[in-house]
């Protein structure tokens, strides 16, 4: 068992045992407290440039299965856990966690006191970290010197449009680092999907004659993206029903003059109660966020706040007052996490359906 280290920006070093790839990597350290779905988490593109600490003490129990990837080429920078199990046995076609991480050049370290690490992150806030062979001064110098890219979306999103045909509503998905859960839910509702690159123009999108538009999840800060993206959103939101998720939600907010701030501690988990304001009901969902929409910045003549996180008070959902355009910060696709709010996809398809009926009936 090779000993390797997780070193942190604050100077601390955690020895542990290596699994997965033996690559040396640097990324933002984030703790995820979701109890199920390590496969979905690791393969989610939002973890581009990030090293994931699993607070759940043991992962890998069920291997990885072909039906549950959130992307084809995961881009996480590392996996830290107390214990991992290298199993590839179950009723589905599965490979083991170790093999998967090796395939995708993602290093892992186990035998780390992840609970202590979680406490540290909570106390000191977001931190850069590296996974290295030796925790010497050189490694720390490298860590401090590394500037993480702000071109994350361009690195993970599709460069070219591609279709995912079906016979239902025409949906254009703008890919900012799309997770497959979104496609899966659209596909369950028979949507005829075209995925377009993050920098697609409004003309290109509208030329596809969409019944609806989805702005996908993705990694990094929304401010890293050019103004042209916001302009695109502004132009399409009045033309077809729009559903924005995660990074898409943050961009939707920016396009409607709200502002976004970085959280002191990124929140990745499925334990915070989310309140839907209109019904006053509470539900739970996978949340993976480093940024949040500032509630004070919202122009209430333009947007409703539809959902808030009851623990940290962050805006979790918005809706345009004038158009059927809405957004959520969390992941209603439940990959991973509760499916409590998966009905938002039904809302989206029902809005599309209503529009078609209305347009057909209009006289």
């Amino acid at each position: 068992m090779t000993q390797r280290y997780l070193i942190l920006e604050d100077g601390s070093a955690y020895p542990g045992k290596a699994f997965g790839s033996l690559a040396t990597t640097t990324g933002e350290l984030v703790a995820n407290s979701t109890m199920n779905g390590y496969q979905e988490i690791i393969s989610n593109q939002i973890y581009h440039n990030q090293i994931i600490v699993f607070t759940q003490s043991s992962i890998g129990n069920t291997g990885l299965d072909q039906n549950a990837y959130e992307s084809i080429l995961p881009s996480a920078k590392g996996v830290i856990v107390r214990e991992y199990e290298n199993l590839a046995t179950d009723h589905f076609k599965r490979i083991s966690l170790d093999r998967y991480l090796k395939q995708h050049k993602i290093p892992g370290i186990y035998d780390v006191d992840t609970r202590e690490l979680r406490h540290r992150l909570q106390k000191y806030g977001n931190m850069k970290a590296s996974i290295v062979d030796v925790a010497d001064d050189h490694a720390f110098d490298q860590l401090h010197a590394t500037v993480l890219t702000n071109q994350q979306v361009a690195q993970v999103a599709t460069p070219k449009p591609y279709p995912n045909p079906d016979e239902g509503d025409n949906v254009v998905v703008v890919d900012f680092g799309l997770k497959s859960g979104i496609l899966r839910e659209l596909s369950r509702r028979n949507c005829n999907v075209t995925v377009v690159p993050w920098n697609a123009s409004s003309e290109m999108i509208l030329d596809l004659d969409p019944d609806g538009i989805v702005l996908s999840t993705g990694p990094g800060a929304p401010s890293n993206l050019p103004q042209s993206v916001l302009k695109m959103i502004e132009e399409v939101q009045s033309q077809a029903p729009l559903f924005a998720i995660g990074l898409g939600h943050e961009l939707f907010a920016l396009a409607n003059d709200a502002s976004v701030y970085q959280l002191r501690v990124e929140h990745h988990g499925a334990n915070h109660p989310i309140r839907e304001i209109i019904t006053n009901e509470i539900f739970y969902s996978g949340q993976e966020q480093g940024y949040a929409v500032d509630p004070k910045s919202i122009d209430h003549a333009k947007l409703f706040i539809t959902h808030i996180d009851l623990v940290n008070g962050t805006v979790q959902g918005l809706r345009h007052r004038d158009f059927p355009a809405f957004s959520v910060q969390f992941s209603p696709d439940g990959a991973p996490g509760p499916k409590d709010s998966v009905g938002l996809f039904d809302d989206f398809t029902e809005i599309m359906e209503r529009r078609r009926v209305d347009n057909g009936n209009s006289f």
Binding site: Y14, S57, D90, T114, L310, P338
Partner: protein, 832 residues
């Protein structure tokens, strides 16, 4: 917003039995604390003499009566409560609630049933209605049909497919079930079954034997907000009762999609039943696809509801009490040690909990000992760790009880027997699984034979490898590290290497591998939640800090077994309460998930750790207690601990081995309390003997005071006092007598037994455990005790009747020994 209820009738769980231990009392106790915050007056009914709850309520509001329909009706009519809470009284109380509503008693007396509306309760109690409801909300239930001939049976099987289970209805023999995998087997089964049924009807149902058993515990408020406490996974497949299964929290072998489907189903069911409070739903999950069936819905507190709470550290009973009263999640205020978000933060775990059942076959061996659909276990132990192996080994260590710090093994069983026991498991289930691995059975083969997921065999195999490594590399720091990671305590390592534990402790110091304690709290480290519930692991950060001021460590009794154990838990609880009153910070160490003594409000700190030498020494090292309370049945442990000078140890409950018998027989007894050289009579007792068996092992039932007390008591007390020597006997002492004619002969002297101490506390008006604790702390106020105690002023007979689990175990026995008691009931009789 909640309606205010001024008077609430709380139904108790009754005497402990197979199926429920003290967990219902623990839940009722927490509930009591919650209800008090609302200012409600609480009326409690329970005849369990070992109930802690009934002691915490004003005697005038406690009805020591059997929890049955008739008694509850009388109480309702007399007390006129506004509401009734049945959810902590088990299925019995829920059935009474249903009867109360069906018979119109609730509406006639204007009583609100809390937790579930009567109309919805009916859907749970009536199996067919539940099936209809589940079908209506598109949740799958096992298909079943009553058939009158072969062709109807064939039609059914064509629809649902094999395997199926055939059972004769109103059978001449005891009901046997036939599992049929093909047409031939089905024909044979129908043939036999139709011959056995009196009414020419057989039931046939889809068989799900071998499916995974998954349990979900959810909570819901009056606004329809829902939260999942956690999922539990039974290691053993369907076919072995969940109560007899080894259980893991969180679930280990479900993928996200499967887990979320069961979560959603649980919520849908809670919505359909309008549950306000907790709901426990059991599922059978296919191993080959994502199919599942709902097998059981319990919108009330069950053993595993409370296990889910223990596993997560979520104050479930407390929160649920408010939910039942109509509060919403956001309206509930928790004690300040928790973060304010806690009531509505969905619990997330960063540890693993394993529960292993304990069976009574050592004490009752003439029954079918196979584990099947009939629950047979009487208790369980839990182990908590950061790794799955650590949790398994800790819980095994506590369940496979050995006085010494070792894991027992079944290496003497021959190969045929191993295979036989793999297919037809016995109480030694987990040891057999390990033994089979040790003998080279392949994991695939084992999984096929047992229908246990491969994952668990990988883990057990890992444990074996770790054990081998540790044994083969004695006294190496790396060996210690490996041992620690997989849950081998220092005491165990010492036994494996045959060295004194202090050598291991020294090694740990030198290699800087000290024990660390992690908190069990529901936010996985996101918030500071001072639950003060800890388990050990060997990592970086230690979260358990010693208290300032006087501290007492109380060692619990561990998993429940037959004999006086539920009384022992009551005893432990009273020790904690007494210590707290005496100004001590209290620390409890226990492994029984159903123990009242682990109720969060009863101590300042709780350790879920094996009750073994190494683990105890580690805790002593961290907490530096001023006094340690150790139960008297742990002779080896007590001997070991006594080696450590400077340890102020009190043995309570007392060690029964010090008893002196002239004859193992008695018909009456005098209980005395001895402080220094002062002897105070407490009361007299008559023992009931059955079939003229007067030997002590068969004396389970007794009354206080003795029969003919008016004439015989005074002289007997004198005789008793003259029989004991205060230099030999201290504390609560029982002098035994045998009567022939009007002559009483002293037959022995012993410490008052645990069950009787509980009995005396309930009947004499003096909390004897408190008295004993104060005695050993040197705080006893004799003057007030003398004042309090009026031994001759009897008002009525108090009667203790033992309960035996013979019926549940399908044993033909009628009478049992003291070692076979599972619980007891208390009743009163007026003098004639």
């Amino acid at each position: 917003m909640a309606i205010v209820f001024n008077k609430v009738l709380l139904l108790g769980g009754g005497p402990t039995s197979i199926g429920h231990e003290n967990e219902l009392d623990a839940a009722a106790f927490e509930r009591l604390i919650a209800l008090r915050k609302t200012g409600a007056q609480i009326i409690y009914v329970d005849d369990n003499p070992f109930s802690v709850t009934s002691e915490e309520i004003q005697p005038a509001n406690v009805y020591v009566q059997q929890v049955n329909f008739k008694n509850v009706v009388n109480i309702i009519e007399k007390e006129q409560p506004d509401a009734i809470m049945a959810t902590t009284g088990g299925l019995n109380a829920m059935q009474i609630a249903w009867q109360l509503s069906e018979s119109g008693v609730l509406s006639a007396n204007n009583v609100t049933l809390l937790g579930i509306k009567p109309a919805d309760l009916r859907k749970v109690i009536d199996n067919q209605k539940l099936r209809d409801l589940l079908t209506e909300i598109s949740e799958k239930v096992i298909a079943s049909k009553i058939v009158a001939d072969d062709s109807e049976a064939m039609d059914f099987v064509r629809e649902v497919g094999f395997p199926v289970i055939v059972k004769p209805i109103s059978a001449s023999h005891d009901t046997s079930r036939f599992i049929c995998n093909n047409t031939d087997e089905l024909e044979d089964a129908l043939d036999v079954s139709f011959k056995r049924t009196y009414i020419k009807r057989c039931s046939i149902e889809q068989s799900i034997v071998g499916y995974k058993e998954i349990e979900m515990v959810g909570v819901r408020d009056t606004n329809g907000n829902k939260m999942l406490i956690t999922g539990l996974e039974d290691m053993d497949p369907i076919g072995i009762h969940s109560g007899d299964s080894i259980i893991f929290a969180p679930t280990q072998t479900l993928i996200n999609e499967e887990y979320q489907a069961l979560r959603t189903a649980t919520f849908r069911i809670m919505d359909a039943l309008n549950v306000t409070g907790t709901c426990h739903v059991q599922f059978a999950q296919s191993r080959t696809d994502s199919n599942y069936f709902v097998t059981k819905v319990s919108p009330f507190f069950t053993r595993n509801t409370l296990l889910a709470a223990k596993a997560t550290g979520y104050p479930l009973t407390y929160v649920s009490s408010f939910l039942e009263l109509g509060y919403t999640f956001t309206e509930i205020k928790l004690p300040t040690k928790y973060s304010k978000y806690l009531p509505f933060m969905e619990p997330t775990m960063d540890h693993v909990l394993v529960r292993i059942p304990l069976w009574p076959f050592r004490d009752i061996n003439d029954v079918d000992q196979h584990l099947n659909t009939l629950m047979k276990s009487v208790g369980s132990t839990i182990g908590v760790g950061r790794t799955v192996e650590e949790a398994i080994i800790k819980s095994m260590h506590s369940s496979q009880f050995s006085p010494r710090d070792i894991l027992p093994s079944v290496s003497k069983v021959d190969d045929d027997d191993v295979i036989n026991q793999l297919i037809h498991p016995l109480a030694s289930r987990i040891l057999i699984l390990m033994e089979a691995l040790r003998r080279g059975f392949s994991i695939d083969e084992l999984s096929e034979l047992t229908r246990i997921d491969r994952f668990y065999f990988y883990k057990l195999n890992q444990l074996l490898r770790a054990q081998d490594y540790v044994i083969n590399n004695p006294m190496s720091p790396h060996s210690v590290q490996v041992g620690h990671k997989y849950g081998f305590g220092d005491g165990m390592l010492a036994e494996l290497w045959n060295v004194n534990i202090s050598e291991i402790t020294r090694m740990n110091r030198n290699t800087k591998q000290p024990v660390t304690y992690k908190e069990i709290e529901p936010s996985a480290g996101e918030f500071i939640e001072a639950t003060n519930i800890f388990y050990s692991s060997y990592e970086l950060e230690n979260e358990s800090q010693p208290f300032s001021g006087k501290t007492a460590l109380v060692i619990g009794r561990g998993g429940n077994q037959l004999g006086p154990n539920s009384a022992a838990d009551y005893y432990t609880t009273q020790i904690l309460i007494s210590l707290k009153k005496a100004g001590y910070k209290t620390i409890i160490m226990n492994t029984n998930p159903n123990a009242v003594s682990l109720t969060p409000q009863l101590s300042d700190k709780q350790y879920i750790e094996p009750i073994q030498l190494g683990n105890i020494l580690n805790i002593i090292n961290v907490d530096q207690p001023d006094v340690v309370f150790l139960p008297g049945n742990r002779h080896y442990l007590s001997k070991q601990l006594k080696q450590f000078t400077g340890l102020n140890m009190v043995v309570l409950p007392p060690d029964q081995k010090v008893a002196i018998y002239k004859e193992q027989e008695a018909t009456a007894a005098v209980d005395l309390f001895i402080q220094d050289d002062e002897i105070i009579p407490v009361t007299t007792l008559s023992f009931f003997n059955h079939n003229n068996r007067m030997d002590l092992h068969h004396i389970n039932d007794y009354q206080e005071p003795m029969s003919h007390w008016e004439t015989d008591e005074q002289s007997l007390i004198k005789q008793a006092i003259s029989s004991v020597d205060p230099t030999e006997w201290q504390g609560l002492v029982q002098v035994l007598f045998d009567q022939s004619g009007s002559e009483y002969t002293c037959t022995g002297i012993r410490p008052v037994r645990i069950t009787e101490t509980a009995f005396l506390t309930k009947t004499t008006g003096v909390n004897w455990i408190n008295v004993l604790v104060r005695k050993y702390l040197g705080l006893l106020d004799m003057a007030s005790l003398r004042e309090q105690l009026r031994p001759a002023e009897h008002k009525r007979y108090s009667i203790m009747t033992a309960k035996f689990p013979f019926k549940e175990l399908q044993s033909n026995r009628q009478e049992g020994t003291t070692k076979q008691e599972v619980g007891a009931s208390l009743s009163f009789k007026n003098f004639e």
